[in-house]
Symmetry: C2
Subunit: 406 residues, 2 copies
């Protein structure tokens, strides 16, 4: 139940019903392809005549494609409809601290080519290099195809209106307009979003397996830090200053250990991979030299899981502690948002059988109902890097999104 904003609203015109039904057809084809016109008419509860008219429009626009005819036991054989996806290309770019990843994929998110490069923190160097690679990939793989745009994922909050990167401490970026720069350099439309939010969007827009009825979930990324993308009522939560989803820096214990952000007892300081490794090695997370030592040691959480499985009891205890803290942080997420599920991405997932029991115990202690405590946690198994999928989703989503009315 939404209130109509009387300062900024979208009046219905003559063409509004068609825009709405057009998008419904598009989404029905996407979710049930291949599908016949008659089947669409049944699912939409309209006459076949209207479907014909809508489909013809979408075929003319190149959104749909008519495929083979189906074999049915009785009657005329239907011509099946598909989303036109194989010759529509999308670039996904994931800018990270160490390396920047670049994927060329089609409209279904199917990977065509992936490459990566060392991240240059200066946008003046990074953007031209990206543009050059994109142009080359398009020449090599994009024969006879159209390119719909570039999805760009950055490690920090992005201003929704302007597309400027507000704050990316890892890159040393403050209020940088990479989007406009890349758009100018390539001539393609660029969509930008912060990493966690993009992963949540990918879960909705580029996940062929899971049901589309889940309208609220939290996408949690546990790596050097803890990031989260929030989906509520079917829409991403960006917040007033585009700073929502910073669950990594909620205090679990305001008398706890120092976090990199300067505060005490942030969730990150307990449950991130760095925190887990620091606990195992006995190093102090807030100490820069200790962090350097940690990096040099080549120790990873995945390695810790292997050690634990190999009989290293201290590794096991460390992981169990991480599970406990993960549960306390999750209790906070669940008490706040009560999502239908939590999706977890990170190396910690490789040892989930070790981590989950203490996590569930902590969750049970800090949530109000058993249903909340049993909120499903789904491990991200994405073959493709989830963030690249998120970047691709940025380009795909606007095409299928519900029209804005009222």
């Amino acid at each position: 139940m939404r209130k109509i904003n009387t300062r900024h609203f979208h009046r219905a015109t003559r063409t509004t019903p068609r825009e709405i039904n057009r998008q419904i057809v598009l989404n029905l084809v996407r979710d049930h392809q291949p599908i016949s016109r008659a089947d669409l008419a049944r699912r939409m509860d309209v006459g076949r005549g209207m479907v014909t008219s809508l489909v013809n429009e979408l075929l003319a626009e190149g959104e749909l494609r008519e495929g083979e005819t189906a074999n049915v036991p009785r009657g005329r054989k239907p011509k099946l409809l598909h989303i036109r996806s194989h010759d529509r290309l999308v670039f996904a770019v994931d800018i990270r601290f160490t390396r920047t990843y670049l994927m060329l994929c089609d409209f279904d998110g199917r990977e065509h080519a992936v490459e990566s490069l060392e991240t240059d923190f200066d946008p003046g160097t990074l953007v031209p290099e990206l543009a050059e690679r994109i142009e080359r990939l398009l020449r090599v793989h994009g024969a006879g195809c159209s390119c719909e745009g570039i999805g760009l994922v950055v490690p920090g909050p992005v201003a929704r209106g302007t597309g400027r990167v507000l704050h990316a401490p890892q890159m040393g970026w403050h209020d940088i307009d990479v989007r406009a720069a890349l758009e100018a350099a390539t001539g393609l439309p660029v969509y930008i979003e912060n990493d966690s939010t993009a992963c949540a969007l990918a879960e909705v827009w580029l996940n062929p397996h899971r049901s589309n009825t889940v309208e609220s979930f939290v996408y949690l990324t546990v790596a050097e830090g803890v990031g989260s993308g929030i989906m509520v009522n079917g829409e991403v939560v960006r917040g007033h200053g585009d700073m929502a989803g910073e669950f990594g820096h909620v205090p679990l214990n305001f008398e706890g250990p120092r976090c990199l952000c300067g505060a005490r007892g942030c969730w990150e300081a307990y449950a991130s991979d760095l925190a887990t490794l620091a606990r195992y090695t006995g190093l102090e997370l807030a100490d820069p030299t200790a962090r350097e030592q940690l990096r040099a040691s080549q120790l990873t959480v995945a390695g810790l899981v292997q050690r634990a499985r190999g009989g290293d009891t201290r590794a096991l205890e460390t992981l169990e502690a991480t599970g406990h803290y993960l549960g306390i942080g999750l209790s906070l997420v669940i008490n706040a948002i009560n999502p239908a599920r939590v999706i977890l991405d990170g190396q910690i997932a490789t040892g989930w059988d070790l981590v989950e029991p203490p996590m569930r115990r902590a969750l049970a202690a800090h949530t109000l109902t058993v249903e909340a405590a049993n909120t499903p946690v789904i491990l991200e198994t994405g073959g493709i890097h989830p963030r690249l999928r998120g970047a691709a989703a940025l380009v795909v989503a606007p095409v299928f999104a519900a029209p804005i009315v009222a």
Copy 2:
């Protein structure tokens, strides 16, 4: 950008544009009344002809009312339009632990009559008594008026689909269907919601003063416990199991003091009125006899504020500590949701000048940007009980809500 749910969607029909524009007219009149047809046409950017047609429909349905003619410097004088509100009555019912409040108001939320009764925990006794009082009030005050429905607010989560009260520990209710009972007893439509959510809804639907463009805020109620209603992207957050907004039981410090819910270090255990008083008196919150002692002492937070102003340094320190804990809890809310503002209701607001500085310091320490740390906190000054206004909003909102399409 919302994805269309292909299992459950709302197709556009011939009448969809009119439904949309009808609601827009209704909302424009509500926000700018009194307003002329010509002015509506200008605001909507349509011809005056269409406005005439829409308005005639709304007049016939009794949603609008034609009032006096305006005095304008030039040209024909317009006939001004109003929402028909004075002869449309709404009952608001607020069921609380000690007493149950009952308000008769009009469609603008203007109070006509208020009364209260001792709360009987047995719905079999409470509902008939409510129905009797509602019938009597309608006889006395409702001459020539229609009654649009009853808004019912309860202290606990409500199942969105069925309207059953899932869990109201104060009342000893578990999975109780008060709504159906009251509907059967009165013959009026009953809308039910939990108290915090209803307060948030009232802020959107029954607040003539504040701008309607704020699409995300958190309504915080600090009393015996800490409750919260969350508004994000213009819609209330109920969560998957209708348990969202339980910020009161997020752990601030998992090694902290025991909370009534059984866990340790809940926000409630630090910042609720009971927690503040316990800290002042040195009593243990988790101990039932201490709680009884506290109740018997007649000490309130408002009283504590007076003592602090009178020079009681320990009262001042206690309030400042509460401010500190309030800030830590709010940092959590702000890191998670990043709302445009926080609305605060509770006795603690009477001493806000004492409480805010330590609150802001704690907020600054635990949020990532200065904008987030400076999130405005607005004190609820509602003359009418905010929860009664929330109950009334439940009846009013559906009339003005945007239609559901796609």
